[in-house]
């Protein structure tokens, strides 16, 4: 600890006044937050990104609609799963697929789509709903798979956006291929 005398010599030491140090810090913090929020609001007013400020965060919906991809909600996917009316296509790589996936899902990374076209069309003709999914932030594989299959003549592939994470978070059943079941 410093003596009182040295404090006086160096008034710029923050330790000289801890309360003031904190107060000024908080005041600056508030000011910086306000500046950040103000610039952010101004930026989004000047260059609208198409995202609404509040409300429905299904930000990718409009993009996918342009590409002709139909999304399916988790609730709908879950009820089709329970009625055994859905065929799930896991578009991720085999590694992640092995660690866990929706029970009964087929592992089809988008480049493999053409090898599966006949099988999937057969499911389609049986009246099943084909649902592709991926995982994680903006993972495009589910959409890519749907597009690839559509190019090859499969008409009705729906996409469960961020499917794996949402499926797990909802506590729905999982299947693993490493001889463990969870």
């Amino acid at each position: 600890m410093e003596k009182k005398g040295t404090k006086k010599d160096r008034p710029s030491m923050p330790a000289a006044s801890p309360t003031k140090h904190t107060t000024v810090g908080f005041r600056q913090a508030m000011l910086l937050l306000l500046v950040g929020i103000a610039i952010g609001m101004a930026y989004h007013l000047v260059t609208p990104s198409g995202l609404p400020w509040f409300g429905n965060p299904e930000s990718s919906s409009s993009l996918n609609a342009e590409k002709g991809i139909e999304e399916i909600s988790l609730d709908d996917a879950w009820s089709l799963y329970r009625q055994k009316e859905a065929v799930f296509l896991d578009a991720r790589g085999p590694d992640t697929f092995w660690k866990g996936h929706i029970p009964g899902a087929l592992n089809i990374p988008p480049p493999d789509a053409e090898n599966w076209v006949d099988d999937i069309r057969a499911f389609e003709n049986d009246g099943k709903t084909i649902i592709s999914y991926c995982d994680g932030v903006a993972c495009p594989l589910g959409e890519e798979l749907a597009l690839n299959l559509r190019e090859k003549g499969v008409q009705s592939v729906k996409v469960l956006i961020n499917g794996w994470s949402r499926w797990r978070a909802a506590g729905h059943p999982e299947e693993r291929l490493d001889n463990e079941s969870s």
């Binding site: 160096r10 913090a29 989004h44 965060p57 994680g136 903006a138």
Partner: protein, 162 residues
């Protein structure tokens, strides 16, 4: 090395300046990347499943700018202590979000320095990285004395003495 020496080393102006520039640069970079892709960042936030759906977009649109402002503040020394406080608060919140989802076992991307789909899923290293940055923020908050700063809590005294 005794405690006084550690304090002396941590309080050395060069150490603080390094912390400031590094942390400021990191926040600036992280903010700029996310400003460019608000939709991707919104999806990243939504994947954490911790924020009410209605709040996701507004956070995705404003948080990057807050990061940019505190990043610039740390680098320039404009309101350094405030910037360090906000950084510490944000990094604390990020750590909590990461920890909760690691415990949940969700396979999600970090959304920290990229909104791109190809980035790997979160693991404990992300949490360690976040906590290291948090330590830097606290270091700056505790020891900064306004070296090469345009403003700061110490500037009143500084102009009189330096």
């Amino acid at each position: 090395m005794n405690r006084r020496n550690v304090t002396k080393l941590l309080g050395h102006p060069a150490m603080i300046l390094i912390s400031r520039l590094l942390l400021g640069g990191i926040f600036l970079y992280a903010g700029i990347i996310k400003v460019a892709d608000p939709s991707g960042f919104a999806l990243a936030i939504r994947n954490y499943q911790l924020v009410p759906d209605g709040m996701v977009n507004v956070i995705a649109m404003l948080l990057p700018w807050i990061e940019i402002v505190i990043g610039a503040g740390l680098i320039l020394g404009a309101g350094t202590h405030g910037a360090a406080l906000v950084s510490a608060f944000l990094l604390g919140a990020f750590a909590l979000a990461l920890a909760i989802n690691l415990a949940r076992g969700l396979d999600i991307s970090c959304g920290c320095f990229s909104t791109a789909p190809s980035t790997g899923s979160i693991n404990w290293l992300y949490l360690i990285r976040d906590l290291s940055l948090l330590a830097m923020a606290l270091h700056i908050y505790r020891f900064d004395r306004g070296m090469l700063a345009i403003t700061g809590p110490a500037s009143r005294g500084k102009t009189a003495t330096d």
